[in-house]
Symmetry: C2
DNA sequence: TAAATGCGTCAGCCATGTTGACGTTTCTAG
DNA sequence: CTAGAAACGTCAACATGGCTGACGCATTTA
């Protein structure tokens, strides 16, 4: 721990940038979601289903870190809107497997693209070698368990 | 715009790191808050009052981006807990000025310190020159209006 | 002195999370 | 084969932290 005595001032500099930065980042998608009558919880489910291609319910639960009751409500709404489909795992009929419909994939992509320009320009501001630093910083911020849930940064 | 055609894959890499990273970052403070019967909304108010030393109500409202009704409830609870005090602006009696009590400052500091170790180690992982890149990245992510609300990163 | 400003407050609503309890289907171990 | 465990889905009640709309009051300003 070379830098174990960071100042409170420096800590605040990061804390407030994270707060404002994350708020702007989620705001981009929130505006698109609101026009469809959906919320941030729906976005998170769409995101991780799309990312995995298809995903067992228990894994989505672990990734989102919410209770099954909270997720069930979100999934019901997404299935009613024909954005998500649930089928059974052929190897274990108790398990549910979630996939996106074509409409679900289209919406998820439009949500990603709503955030893309902001992320692109922020990475550019970080400089050519800054991208690696940003990835390393954010990964180090995460809980260790969650590190297994992300893709590589290549 | 040197990198105007970032891949969706690269965009997702940042999006999910932001999600998991921010969740872990807020989680550190949430655990302390829960033990005091407070929530994240109280933390944000304490943070920005402390950061400013004292702050007019209207400015805290603009910073937090919530309605006065939402803030009033939070402030009432903080004042009942003797963590925040409200007095009048001597130059304009309609305006309220908020400050922390000694107990409020102590709590705010303990919340900051709950997040400090994670931020320190994440910045170390970003490398020696990475800190500047991380600051630049997060500032670029923010809404322009909010950039006036943060301190310098020196 | 009348109007505008800056609050504080009441009431009702929404989105998203929580616990706890129950029922059903399906797999697994004895 | 059967009992129990596992993986859900669902219902009910509740907490937090947002929102809008409508009032009222003190204070400042035109």
């Amino acid at each position: 721990m070379a830098d174990a005595f960071m100042s409170d001032f420096a800590t605040r500099a990061i804390a407030e940038r994270l707060f404002f930065g994350y708020r702007a980042f989620t705001g981009d998608a929130d505006r698109v979601l609101a026009s469809r009558g959906l919320g941030r919880a729906h976005h998170r489910a769409l995101y991780f289903i799309e990312r995995a291609g298809s995903i067992p319910v228990h894994e989505l639960l672990a990734t989102l870190g919410i209770t099954k009751q909270a997720l069930t409500r979100v999934l019901r709404e997404l299935m009613e809107a024909r954005l998500v489909e649930r089928r059974r795992d052929p190897t274990d009929g108790r398990r549910g497997i979630l996939t996106l419909t074509n409409a679900g994939r289209a919406l998820e992509l439009s949500l990603l693209h709503a955030q893309k320009a902001r992320i692109e320009s922020a990475l550019q501001d970080a400089g050519p070698s800054g991208s690696a630093a940003v990835h390393a910083f954010l990964e180090a911020l995460m809980e260790p368990d969650d590190r297994e849930r992300i893709g590589t940064s290549l």
